[in-house]
Point group: D2
Chain length 357, copies 4
């Protein structure tokens, strides 16, 4: 398998299967001299960790990060930051049934066909457990991006949507809600929806919106590595994601140019922001915002028909401990991936013109 690295200059390479000994990663390219706030990293890990509330999986992982290199006397050395998270609460017996069967809409079938040999336990490498490493790296990227704030929140669960623009929400209150929806009334409805489906052994999809403020003008490399193309790749690489749109998004495709254009004002801001803070792939200083669609979790606590490795129809029943809806826990992952994208472009932008050298 290739494709276990993300980023060009600020680069994360990760490893680890869901029920192996450990997961972990290496962050290469973080500049020297950055003070590292370990508590802030731990806080992000707690936001992602399983077992954090009644609407998430009950797998209980402390998800403590061990840094093995690259940080000395509280500051980055400029050398690669190696880290590891032990897998503790694994229960491989939950997975014996799927050793030879393919769960519907899971990666069991494709891994089996592609690699021949697979670690079926908890989905192995295809498990979202891998995203814990993204959160570690993203938490460090956030510290590099000091003045930029990256705030994601759950904007829908099933067909329960927040019906306000993000400007009318207090994004600092997102984590007050276990579903991570900053609108109190909607949050309540979302939780009810999830609990009801959980009771039925069913699951639901949802969307996350992310808002990035205070991005300096000039980040992003036009043509193939446009800011929004990298953000899109980053988000689509998160487990269960089915779609990405930024600024006016799919709605913009229904608009006329005379409605859609953002007019420049004399202070170099724009009167509207359908561009989503990005023009020609480069940040223009306005808020960057985008929306990410997550499909419903494929593992149901219901009996489903499927086939086994010989192609014979079999029945499987959901075991293991799974989230009825991934979006609450995916909020810190979305933020982490956004931070990785921005950190990379931030470094690269330092060498865009001879004046900045």
């Amino acid at each position: 398998m290739a494709g276990n690295s993300f980023g060009n200059l600020f680069k994360l390479t990760s490893f680890g299967e869901s029920h192996g000994e450990a997961i972990g990663g290496i962050i290469d390219g973080c500049p020297a001299g950055l003070k590292i706030d370990l508590n802030a990293i731990d806080l992000e890990m707690q936001r992602r960790r399983p077992g954090q509330s009644s609407i998430t999986t009950s797998r209980n992982e402390p998800d403590q990060v061990h840094f093995l290199s690259g940080i000395y006397e509280g500051k980055t050395l400029g050398t690669p930051i190696g880290f590891m998270i032990r897998n503790k609460d694994h229960n491989p017996k939950d997975y014996s049934e799927i050793e030879s069967s393919f769960r519907p809409s899971h990666a069991d079938f494709t891994y089996h066909k592609k690699y021949g040999h697979r670690d079926h336990r908890g989905g192995g490498r295809s498990s979202a457990r891998e995203t814990a490493c993204r959160v570690v790296a993203g938490a460090i990227a956030k510290q590099l991006l000091k003045n930029i704030t990256i705030q994601a929140f759950v904007s829908s669960v099933g067909d329960v949507f927040i019906d306000k623009p993000y400007q009318d929400l207090d994004l600092s209150r997102t984590d007050d809600s276990i579903v991570r929806c900053p609108d109190k009334a909607t949050s309540k409805k979302m939780i009810e929806r999830i609990e009801k489906l959980k009771g039925l052994g069913d699951t639901t999809g949802g969307t996350i919106t992310c808002v990035i403020k205070n991005t300096p003008i000039g980040l992003g490399e036009p043509v193939f590595d446009k800011m929004h193309a990298q953000l899109g790749k980053a988000m689509l690489s998160i487990n269960a994601v089915k779609g990405f749109e930024y600024g006016s998004g799919f709605c913009g495709a229904q608009m006329k140019g005379s409605e859609h254009n953002d007019q420049f004002l004399e202070d170099e801001t724009t009167s509207t922001n359908r561009s989503g803070g990005i023009q020609g792939g480069i940040s223009n200083g306005m808020d960057i915002y985008f929306r990410v669609a997550f499909k419903p979790v494929a593992t149901l606590m219901q009996t489903q028909e499927t086939i086994d490795q010989t192609g014979k129809t079999v029945k499987i029943e959901g075991k293991g401990r799974h989230d009825p809806c991934v979006v609450p826990r995916a909020v810190p992952i979305v933020e982490a991936m956004a931070a990785l994208v921005l950190a990379d472009f931030y470094l690269l932008n330092n060498i865009s013109t001879i004046n900045s050298l």
Copy 2:
């Protein structure tokens, strides 16, 4: 500027400004011994080229590709394929007004801020003229992918949508319509819509759907380089794109797991295909399909207010020759980028297991 390369093993690097001497590129990593059908490449270029119909820009570029290396006696040498397309019908006078002003929702402002020094003529490097190089490389990638068919079509213009699933359309007839919509009745409405807006000096957005058939099982590198993450990046890197979704997409986020899961059948296909042919980032052999949202063209044939480089409000009027809607010409670009993604994964998949070595 970095970010002018796309792909890892089958890699395109491109160059060129809209009104410079030429645009072109280098394709590195195409295997030796591939018979090249130059007519097929030319045909793709004709599908993208300006001036092809009454609803596209009247800029008249023959867009003839000169291959400079890498092909000998009709077959690839395995060496880099260099190519060049001269810019012929440029009319830099059209752009003198915007030398010092920033067109709304264009890249003028961000390029100016990022690079200090810019070629304003026709948008320079930010122009969609650059996509001609993608079509050249994509046409070669298609020839490498012999049995795989990649078919894009216009699925909406403004709020005029095709209201049928793609399975009910004859995708071989897409090019019969100048708007590249395979549904006759809808095509007619789309053309009317575009002509009406063109008459008003206005523009419109739209969407393109792309369907890929006969993909072998196993393409895609899970984790960061999932098949759909790379497709998403590829599409989002095309000018004017605001969103990407595959399979069930944003609709999937509203569904329950019990509705969404694709059941495996004994022939290893699935009964439904909400997964969009991709599970865990790897192709599963079903059709891959996705949808791409394009914003309305930002250049209007109307007077607009904006600011100049000193921050003063000025009025500009659209000049130059522009499309009232990009989606008809973007169809071959979407196909080309999809072909680049697949060609790259196809090569990489040859070294996934020791059995394939």
Copy 3:
């Protein structure tokens, strides 16, 4: 710091400071289904490990490799192989003196200037301890390259040289000698030389020759990534290396073309092999051989003058435990790096022509 990855398809990324908690790495791109012989890996580690004989450093590191992912039921999964080696016998007090002084011909000064902030203990990231990770990855690469044999040996210590061509040596006996010289008489002289210098608190340089047999024809990517260019980079990236030559090397530069050319025979071998098994950057099936020059170890057990961080002259005395000559322990490192280069080209060569797809 960037540059902690080696290879394109078979890629090692490493981390770790000499006296930090652990060193380790991630191998990405190893094909699935490869049976892993852990004993063979351990054996390579023993060949490199400190404290293995009377002529190496007495630092006592068991250098046990913990594999954390990527191997399941004895075979590679195709997923990234994460591994870790704990640092055990570190004695940071040995290094308190150099916390603020720069050892001559060490990286202390340049790290201090480049990064501002450094881990001085044992040289931190600049220590050759990092090469243990290369040996792990190289040992796996060797297993992938089954039929290819890679054999390095010490060809000189100071001015004590083996005076025979490698064809006259039994390379299977290299490890019989603690100095890893397969010629018995020369080995004895080399050991005497090293012991004498060690007694004086002094050190010596040396060279290693490496011979690679059974390489298939066709490995290597001409132009920038020629086989010998990658081998050269690989070797020059090993600590203390000052030079690299392959085939006729520097002697070849004194020859005439009529003396130097290798004549092809009807069995497609060549009568001589001044090309060193590589023509135009591509392996031609003959033995690949090259020679690597190592400078004398910079840390002396003598008093030396140097400067401290304020620029003032100070005297330092060698502490810590160091090798009087690195070449005996560098033999497995040279082999490991050669294996990484070959594994990468071996994978890449599988997609060179459409016939191999």
Copy 4:
């Protein structure tokens, strides 16, 4: 073929066969706003071009570079710099004999075996004609590196060596000599040697020494991308190169540590410079110097025995126009490759610490 790109941030990708329509390349990552001196580029091209003197090949190529993008109003745009050099004086008939035979010590055999299909004319992609693109990119890199001087010269031809340290030579006079040896008496002997061999239809090898002054402290990325490892790869990727050494090089391997160490002085220079300006892979501010070995040109104007594609012994006679010794023309190529390495590290060093951001 992969491997047609060099560099990470300042990156050259090249294309072109010796007797195809053109050769050329794309330079991606050159910062915006750099004033380009086209005459200086042309001058470097003249230094490399064939037909420049009585001791070089008589192929007459004007080698005029056409820049197609990336430079506007005399300054770089930050966008990719595309360029092209037409092949003019090609005489494919000279090569009909080798269409089916393999010239000794050439790449004909390995290309044929690796790719199946090859352009035999003038060696196709394996020809040193490709290095013209390196000189273009290197000339631009030199302009980016304003204060750093990179000066190469011929230090030996066959066994005729300059017997002085480089400090005793006036490197500004190198080009006064057609053999590019700055020592007048030695230059004369070298020219005599070459002319004598040329008269016999024979060829000779030689070495080039390169000295880089005024490199700032801190360039180079330790571990795999050490400054000297990248320089070594760069040099070894030039046609006909067999060896590379820097600083004390192979001689250093014969020395004792007490002789070899460079003592730091209070001004942060070192009293000697056996380190060759690089410690731990990072420049220390002293002169960087290295030596490159070139084998004798393989094409002789004599009859040689070889085999054809069927494995049968045949006789071939040298045709085409070839250099009797490559080193005079390789001097600007060595400088160009050194400039590419330094430009890349220079850019990267701007993001090494948070203080430089």
